[in-house]
Amino acid sequence: MELKGKAICYGDNIDTDVIIPARYLTTSDPAELARHCMEDIDPDFHSKIETGDIIAAGSNFGCGSSREHAPLAIKTAGISCVIAKSFARIFYRNAVNIGLPIIVSDAEIREGDKLSVDLKNGILVNETTGEKANFPAFPAFLQGIIEAGGLMKAMAGGVFR
């Protein structure tokens, strides 16, 4: 699967409280959560993104609370993929479980760069700079969950048996 979009850049330690503030967690409606995505750190988030855009961040993306509302808000807002130097572990598993593509890469990416991501072959191309980088594949077990379309579907398919 190939994903294409422009980069929306953030720094290190982007926590789930700024991805979706707790004051909005009185709902589990994905559309309502998406409406407030990144609001506390980037009030212009919605005006600058187009469907398919890619978040590119520093280390420890998604640290803090276990709220699955965070990857859900990002996914529903129309972000196709998150690239980070590293992910906090609960965000990482939540993204896998709900089918939000995430990539660990320390490729140099600047705001607005046009990116293309080949998930199957692990290739990230920065079309603006012409740079190409490989990223590691998920462990086979997680690849299975992703290909099934998330954990609940993978479980129905027997991943826990």
Binding site: D17, I41, N60, S65, S66, I90, L142, M152
Partner: protein
Amino acid sequence: MSMTMTQKILAAHCGTDSVRAGDMIVADCDLVLGNDITAPVAVNEFEKCGCGRVFDGGKIALVMDHFTPNKDIMAAEQVKKVRDFATDMKVKNYFDVGEMGVEHALLPERGMVTAGDLVIGADSHTCTYGALGAFSTGVGSTDMAAAMASGKVWLRVPEAISAVLTGKPGPYVSGKDVILHLIKQIGVDGALYQSLEFSGDGVAALTVDDRLCICNMAIEAGGKNGIFPVDEQTLAYLKEHGAKEPKVYSADADAKYARTITMDLSKLKPIVAFPHLPENGRTFDEIGEVKIDQAVIGSCTNGRLSDLRDAAKVFKGRKVAKGVRAIIIPATQKIWMDAMHEGLFDIFVEAGCAVSTPTCGPCLGGHMGILARGERCVATTNRNFVGRMGDTQSEVYLSSAAVAAASAVMGKLAAPDMLD
């Protein structure tokens, strides 16, 4: 093959003799936890999958603690959804107002976790129970839904950091100071994907409450879990709280660690984590005059009876500074009642504090003490991220209960030994 304590518990829960770091496993859960924010999402997922019934109504805990007593109509609807689910699925351990407490204080208090257990919870601070010699870790709502249906969770076997504690902590130094010093040393992602395994002669000098607080914040260093060896104190605690028979695991003598950190507890001083990361710890020789507007003493990190006693020692015969709101939140109904019987409430109220019913409340900016633009709060909670307790221009300073109480009295960040 040599294993860490965590790896031994994981191996025992996936029916194998040994596991090694990096293995992907499917493990059996002894307890699956969720709260009023994460469980509604899990219930949605559970209902979509058409599983029909939960794997074991006795091994699920649903604790309505974050926005309770329900702060608004939407919060009430979320709790109702979980309450209906608990009734339909015959989940025994559903805790609502009147018997609930902040989940990670409540479960150990009710003997629901024992040494050797594997616990997952859709709440990042589920790592708290490592203090009791269990493997416990935070997961998401979909993990929770899958585990409620199957009793199972996927895990990547972690490597570990060995944290060797020596010496005895001095006056006014608690578990909170230990973990804030450790996070300052290794950073908020210093233990990413790893276990923090504690050992050393310093362990005996830490109470079970100290250890619960330390493991609670393992996640603030990015850790998968924190875990303490089981000793006489642990066994006495488990017995006192009616926990089931413990299974004691210990790390092999030749277990491999990613790295070893040593910490002399006798050298530690009270510490405050400055905004906006828990790694921004400063001791009082590095803290100038920082005026505060509010103090919060409570949460899954420091809302236990020992924390309230530490605060009461400071507040006794003193007053909260003019212009400061001091909010005390006992973490469970039992802690609330014990504190009342000990006379702590008289001390708090005479000092000018407000005493709340148990709730996570202000810790996550839910309710019961939200900050306005530009306001500062010293809190015994666990996170000081941007906007965590209110306006994005407000600030949270993390400390022990003793420091939070002293700061409330002085009207600025202060250690107890700075009082008259």
